[in-house]
Each structure stands twice: as structure tokens, then as C-alpha cells.
């Protein structure tokens, strides 16, 4: 008896999706007992509601069927691919962390039984209910990676068939230095026609049409993916899964195209303004700024924008936010990051300018100079010391003016951090110099001692000792916290036996002030 409702609920769910393929949101309704003999699925304006009592029955039915089918030990009954798709959908809508179901979907995609567009849509739907579902993000990464690979392979193959593919794959996947042509319409229109023609021709052309299809999907979905991430971040505070995924998309699918980076910088501005106490959004902006700083010269060349003006704008933006929304720690952390970036870029600035000038002394560059000349950013004509003084002054002003105690505390803490000299020493330890049986690297230990002693002598606070083992996959958290305990001597993990005796280990030892790295200062806040 109990079982009879499962199949019906499952059929109801499939019926709902057949009736409305573009369901864009769903949730469980808090109805614990069936009130009348009505279907527990409500479908109103593309929103699907499931009464709570049915969720368990539906899940049990779909999950059991799926797992019995999957079980290699049992003689599995045959399930139609379409049915499998529906079963996995039912399971994932209720429990998106069931990676077996995701893997079955991967297989279905591989066999061509499930269209990628449908799968992308399901993930999108699941993220409205479970915005922090990591398995869903992982699956989406798999899809996009697959699409990207298909496009890349097509652009590689297209030496043989030099028709539309090449432009297509190349334009979309922008090997280093080429930006993605934005606006799916411009790019996709002709390709779609090409794809259809290929399909009509059938046979041999089918294979050729596949990359076309995937590039079309990619173009359609990549931009949507960014807004999917934004929505997920909106609906769950500190949703680092969503932001990490977004960063991944920017890095791997857009290949950190400048245009996308700049667009994202502008786009997330409103988001961060709405979520001033959520550090995750600022963290993403930090990722954007760092990526931009790595491409500073190209930024200058292509967009006539200097990195310093961007950082400057960011600094104004964050100061403005701090004034408008006092007492939010996340804002101050971001300010710390921006300020550090200002400092480091002001020291590198002349070099970058020179290299840009050397690289192209053309008309564009002249235009840049002219346009920048009128409104040169603070960074460009201030030395680091002046900058720092300005920053300290403005913080001091905040401390004196603010009435809120927490804001004052935050400002004071910031002041402290920025007044300590930024102190960064990186050196490399070569394990090859030491006998393989030694657990401690004497050379490295000595250096640490010297450093800590030196900092003690000059009165500098040592906030963090971070050991980076370059080819050792030691979880940074473990290494750091143990460093915290033993930072006068090196911890054994530095010469972890797992690293393999004999094989060279390269490590670098970094001492940073928290101004450099705010997240690590949360782990290590001790003065010696």
C-alpha cells in the first residue's frame, strides 16, 4: 500500500515538468499531512510547490529505484534513459548532494540521452532551493568544462575543414589575449544555422555539428551562469561555493577576458552594496582585481585604463561604503586588501608604465596619456609613503568622528595594521642541501629564528608565519596552525616523510603583515 503513492507522485512530478518545462523555482510547502485527496504538487506561474509529506515518499521511491538499477550485484532491470533522467531529477530536486544521481546524469549526457541544455536548467532550478549545493556546482563545472573542451577540439580540428568552426571556436574560447565576443546573438546566429544545416545533411556531418552545438550552448549559458551564481549568492549569505564557481567560470570559460573581468567588477558593485557584511562578494572582487593586476599592461593597451585608476576607484568605493554603513568588519577587511594593492602597485607603477610605453608607443598610448593626464589618479603621483600617510589620516579622522563603538574598534585595528611596516621576506629552502634523515631543516630553522628575533628587536609585530611547501600538498590550514604554535622553530610537517626522502622539496617561508592577507590574520593573531 505504502508504495503505491510513490509512483503516482513521481508521475505527477513528471507531468508537472511536461506541462511547464520552464519551471524556474520550487520549494517544499509545510503541509505535513494530506489535507484532501489532492495532488501535493502545485504549479503556479512556473513555480512548483511540493507538500512536505509527499517529499519523503517521492524521494524514497525514486532513490530506491535508482539505486536498485545502479546496483551491480543485483540483476538490474532495464530502465529507459528517459525514465532514468526523470528519476535522477526527482532525487536531485530533493537531495542535490546525491552524487550518484549526478554521475548517472553525466553518463546519460555522454551517451547522448540527455540534452545538456536540460541538465543546465535542472541545476539552475536546484540552486534556487539549495543555493549552497556544492555537488550541483561541481556538476556544472563538469558540463562547462566538457563544452569548452569540445569547442577547443573543434577549433583544433578546423585546420582540415576551414569553414565556420574556426572563427567560432577561436572567438569563443579566446586563446590568451583574445576577448570573447560578448552578446550571444552576434556570435551565435550564423552558427545555429550552420548546425541545423549539418544536422539536415546527417551522417558524417553529425560529428562536425557537435562542437557547433556545444559552442552555441556555451555562448547561451555562460552569461546566464554568472547571474545564476549571483542569485545563489543572493539567497544564501557567505555563499563561497557560488562565488568560487563564478571565479572558475571567469577563469576557465572566459579565460579571464578583460572585458568580462571589467564587466564583473562593475556588476558586483551593486551586489556588494546590498550585502555589506558579507565578505564573500568582496572576496570575489579581490579575485577580479588580482586577475586584472596580472594583466595590467594589456588592460592599458586595450581599454586605455590604468590599473591604478581601477584600484583608486575601488578605494573610493570602499571608503564610501564604510562611511555609509559603519560597523561592518567585511568592509574594513576589503579596505585592507585594496590599500595593500595600492601600495604594491604604486611601487611597481613606473615599471609598468615603462613597459607599456616600450611595448607600444602608438596612437592609442598617446590617447591614454592624454585622457589620464587630466585626471591622474592619486596613485600615480604619490609615493607610497604619502599614500600611507593619507590613508592613516583618513582613518584617524574616522576614529575621531564616529560615534559607533564597533566602527571605532574596527578603524583602530585597521590603523594598527597599516602603521606597522609591511614586511615581506620570501626565501627558498633547498632540501637537497640537507641530509635526508633530518626532520628539521637546520638552515631554514635558523633563518626563522633570525627573522623573529629581528622583528622583535625592531618592535615589529609578526602576525603570520606561513610556510608554503611548493610541491607538497599539505593543507594550508594544518600547516599554518601548526606554525602558529611553533613559529620559532620549524614544524616537522615541513619535512613531511610523505614528501618522499630524497626528492627535493622547495619551500618558501613568508612573513606577512595582516595588511597583506586578511584571511590568514584570522588564524594568526599573536604578537611576540
Amino acid at each position: 500500500m505504502e508504495d503505491s503513492r510513490g509512483p503516482r507522485l513521481f508521475a505527477d512530478l513528471n507531468h508537472a515538468f511536461r506541462k511547464d518545462p520552464v519551471i524556474d523555482e520550487y520549494d517544499f510547502l509545510p503541509v505535513t499531512e494530506p489535507q484532501n485527496n489532492a495532488s501535493p504538487l502545485l504549479l503556479v506561474e512556473h513555480k512548483l510547490g511540493l507538500e512536505l509529506w509527499s517529499v519523503r515518499l517521492l524521494f524514497r521511491y525514486a532513490y530506491n529505484r535508482l539505486m536498485t538499477w545502479r546496483d551491480r550485484n543485483q540483476p538490474s532491470s532495464f530502465i529507459d534513459p528517459q525514465e532514468l533522467t526523470n528519476l535522477t531529477r526527482a532525487v536531485l530536486l530533493i537531495q542535490p548532494d546525491c552524487y550518484t544521481a549526478w554521475n548517472i546524469r553525466k553518463e546519460l549526457i555522454d551517451n547522448g540521452d540527455l540534452s545538456i541544455a536540460d541538465d543546465i536548467r535542472l541545476g539552475q532550478l536546484i540552486l534556487t532551493k539549495f543555493p549552497k549545493s556544492s555537488e550541483t556546482f561541481i556538476h556544472r563545472r563538469w558540463i562547462f568544462q566538457r563544452l569548452v573542451n569540445q569547442c577547443l577540439s573543434s577549433s583544433n580540428d578546423s585546420t582540415a575543414s576551414a569553414d565556420g568552426h574556426h572563427d567560432n571556436g577561436g572567438a569563443l574560447l579566446c586563446m590568451d589575449g583574445i576577448d570573447i565576443a560578448l552578446g550571444p546573438d552576434a556570435n551565435v546566429g550564423p552558427n545555429v544555422n550552420g548546425g541545423e544545416a549539418g544536422r539536415r545533411a546527417g551522417g558524417a556531418k553529425v560529428n562536425a555539428a557537435l562542437p557547433l552545438e556545444s559552442s552555441r550552448l556555451l555562448a547561451e549559458n555562460l552569461h546566464r551562469e554568472l547571474s545564476v551564481c549571483e542569485r545563489a549568492a543572493d539567497s544564501y549569505a557567505s555563499n563561497y561555493y557560488a562565488w568560487t564557481h563564478r571565479a572558475w567560470v571567469v577563469q576557465h570559460c572566459f579565460n579571464c577576458s578583460l572585458r568580462v573581468l571589467l564587466g564583473e567588477l562593475e556588476r558586483t558593485q551593486t551586489w556588494t552594496m546590498k550585502h555589506v557584511s558579507d565578505h564573500s562578494g568582496f572576496h570575489y572582487r579581490q579575485f577580479l582585481l588580482t586577475s586584472l593586476s596580472q594583466r595590467a599592461s594589456r588592460l592599458h593597451r586595450q581599454y586605455a585604463k590604468s590599473l591604478s585608476s581601477l584600484i583608486d576607484a575601488e578605494h573610493d568605493f570602499i571608503c564610501d561604503l564604510i562611511n555609509s554603513f559603519p560597523s561592518h568588519e567585511a568592509l574594513w577587511y576589503h579596505r585592507k586588501f585594496v590599500f595593500h594593492m595600492m601600495m604594491s602597485s604604486s611601487t611597481q607603477q613606473p615599471l609598468a608604465e615603462d613597459s607599456a610605453a616600450v611595448l607600444n608607443g602608438d596612437v592609442l598610448h598617446g590617447a591614454v596619456l592624454k585622457s589620464d593626464g587630466q585626471k591622474r589618479s592619486r596613485l600615480e603621483h604619490h609615493s607610497p609613503n604619502v599614500l600611507k600617510q593619507e590613508e592613516l589620516d583618513s582613518v584617524r579622522k574616522t576614529v575621531s568622528q564616529t560615534k559607533e563603538s564597533f566602527q571605532k574598534t574596527l578603524a583602530k585595528r585597521y590603523q594598527e595594521c597599516s602603521s606597522t611596516p609591511i614586511f615581506k621576506i620570501t626565501f627558498t629552502v633547498d632540501r637537497r642541501c640537507t641530509p635526508p634523515d633530518s626532520h628539521y631543516d637546520p638552515a631554514a630553522r635558523d633563518i626563522v629564528r633570525v627573522l623573529t628575533a629581528g622583528s622583535l628587536a625592531t618592535g615589529v609585530r609578526v602576525y603570520l608565519i606561513r610556510i608554503q611547501l611548493l610541491d607538497l600538498a599539505v593543507q594550508s590550514g594544518v600547516a599554518w596552525s601548526s606554525c602558529h604554535q611553533h613559529y620559532t622553530s620549524l614544524h616537522p610537517c615541513f619535512s613531511d616523510p610523505a614528501s618522499g626522502s630524497g626528492s627535493p622539496v622547495w619551500g618558501s617561508l613568508v612573513i606577512l603583515s595582516p595588511a597583506l592577507h586578511q584571511s590568514s590574520s584570522m588564524f594568526f593573531r599573536s604578537s611576540c
Binding site: E2, E33, P34, N36, N37, F78
Partner: protein, 383 residues
Amino acid sequence: MWNVLALDGSNWQRVDLFEFQKDVEGPVVENLSKRCGGFLKSLSLRGCQVITDQALQIFAEQCRNIEALNLNNCKKITDLTCESLGRHSHRLMKLDISSCPELTDNSLKAISTGCKYLEHIDISWCVNMTDDGVDILTKACPRIAVFICRGLQHITDYGIEQLAIHCSNLKKLNVQGCQNVGDEAIAAVSNHCRGLVSLCLSNCTRVTDTALQALGTGCHNLRTLEVSGCTHLTDSGFQSLTRNCHELQKMDLEECIQITDATLAHLASHCHRLSALTLSHCELITDEGIRHIGSSPSSSETLTVLELDNCPLVTDVGLEHLVNCTSLQRIELYDCQLITRAGIRRLRNRLPNLRVHAYFAPVTPPPSVGGGRQRYCKCCVIL
């Protein structure tokens, strides 16, 4: 000894590889056909998607006495397979090539040249097949008794007419989802195939009452009629059908949204062998209609399955009319929102073996009294 016997292909007459469909590849079929040769009579490769033409061509050459062949869902096979079947398998009686989308009319032509004794053919979801192929096939194979062509948009009235004219032995016809099959085809079938027992017209949306009238005049032996989704059918059509077809046992009237209690009254008074009745989504059905079913002279003996889901007007009173249907085994009541728990409980009390399917939690017998008393653990008893 057993091993030798077991491996001796001549002892293998029926082989079904459905259980191993994921693993069966071309060489398996080739070996099998070499080993069994002319002894193999029945082979099912249902769902063996990796099987190709090559393997089946060898098979057709080796196993010339094959009588029943099931190639359902062997998606890779093409017309070449059917050509070699037509060339070699002259004894073929039963052929299932459904869901093989590569096959075209040429397959039917090839089969029609060789397989004269064909009785049972299933070409469902072979989306490229058209009237022409059916025409040629039916002309050559007059023994066809079972013809199944679900979901073929290119099959029209003409094709089914040819089938009816040439294969007057037709017992079972299934044209589910063939949107272009309409009243004319059914008229031809009722004219020529008087022995028709089973007819499925589900989702043939063009079918109207005319078809039911034609069936009433021609096919008096009809036992199974499935017309779910034929929204044009009305009470008057079913009236003329039931007046003449008294043998009806299984009726699927899902989503015949125009029918009312009158149809049920006709069914109850004329069709005394009715065992399964589906009325899902027939939204005009009321308690009165259920009363007709429940009070029919034969309903207590024959009716086993009654599906009333999504009939919004049916109430608990309607269920009370069913208490005489003692052989009723299953009743579907999903989404009948006027049905209450109490109504279901009353029905279950009268018909304890009935499985009631509704959204309410199924009625479970109350937990046995006693046993809930304080218990001692074993060691306490020993002490």
C-alpha cells in the same frame, strides 16, 4: 556431459538476451548464430543497442528457421538487416523492430518479399516508415493478425485502409499516437476485419464518434478498446458502440473529457464482461455514473480494476455504490478531492481486499493491543 549438451547449439531454440543487453555485442550474436544454426526459433535482442547490421546479416544467413525475432531498441541496425532477413528468413512469423529509427520503407519492402508467413509485426517508433511501406507489406503478407505501429506520424488513413483490406485476419491493431489516423481508417478496419479483438487508438486525436459507430457495426468481438486522449468522443458514440460490442472487457477512456454518466450507464447495461475500466480525467463523471457501474448485474463478478483518478465530481457517496463489486482489486482515486478518509475507510471495511490508491496514507490495521506492557530483559527474568 551437461556442459556438452548445454553448449550444443542445437538444443537452443529460444534465446532472450534482454538481461544482458548492455554487454551483448556483435560477436556474441555471430557466435550464437553459428552454434545454433537452423535450430534457433526465437531470438530476442531487445535493447541490445550495440548490435550492428553485420552481426544480424550473419545471423540471418545461419539461422534460417527463425520464427520470432525481437530487435526492439537495436538503434544501430539499418535496412541492410531487414534485407538479409527478407532474403533468408522465410519462416519468420513474429517480428518486432520497434524503436529502430534508422529503418525505412525499404525494410518493409525487403521483408514483404521473403517473409510470407508473417503474423505479428511491430514497427512502433520507426519514424521514417510511411503508408507506402505498409501498403507493400500488407499486400504480401495476408496473414498479419497483429499490427502495431505506435507513434508513426507518416501513417495515415490510407495505410491502415490497405492493412484492413489485405489482412482480414487482423486481431489486434495498435495505432497509438498516430495523429494522422482517423475515422476513415477505423471504418475500413470495421468493414474488413470482423474478428478484431483489440484496438488501441490512444492519442489519435482525430478520431470521432463516427469511428465508434463503425466499430459497433463491424467488430462485435472487440474486447479491448483504448481511446485515451481522444477528446472528440462523446456519449452518443459509446452508445452505438456498446449496443453491439457486448464482449468488451477492458476500456481505457482516459481523458475522453466529453463523456458523462450516460456512457457509464450504457456500459453497465450492455457490457457484462467488463473487468478493467479507466476513467481518469473524465471530469464530468459523477456519483450517478458510479452508481450505474456498481449496480450493473455483472459488475460484482467481473470488474477488477477501476481507475477514477482526477474525477473531481466523484464523492464518498459514489464509493458507497461500489460495495457490491466484490471482485474489485484495485481502485485509483488520486486527486478526487471530494473523497475523504472516512469514505475510503468505509469502502475498505466492506471490501477488505481492495487496494485503494489515493494521496491519503494507506489504511493500516490498528497495532495489536497488548505487548506494550512493561517487559523484563532476559537477565532480570533469570535473576
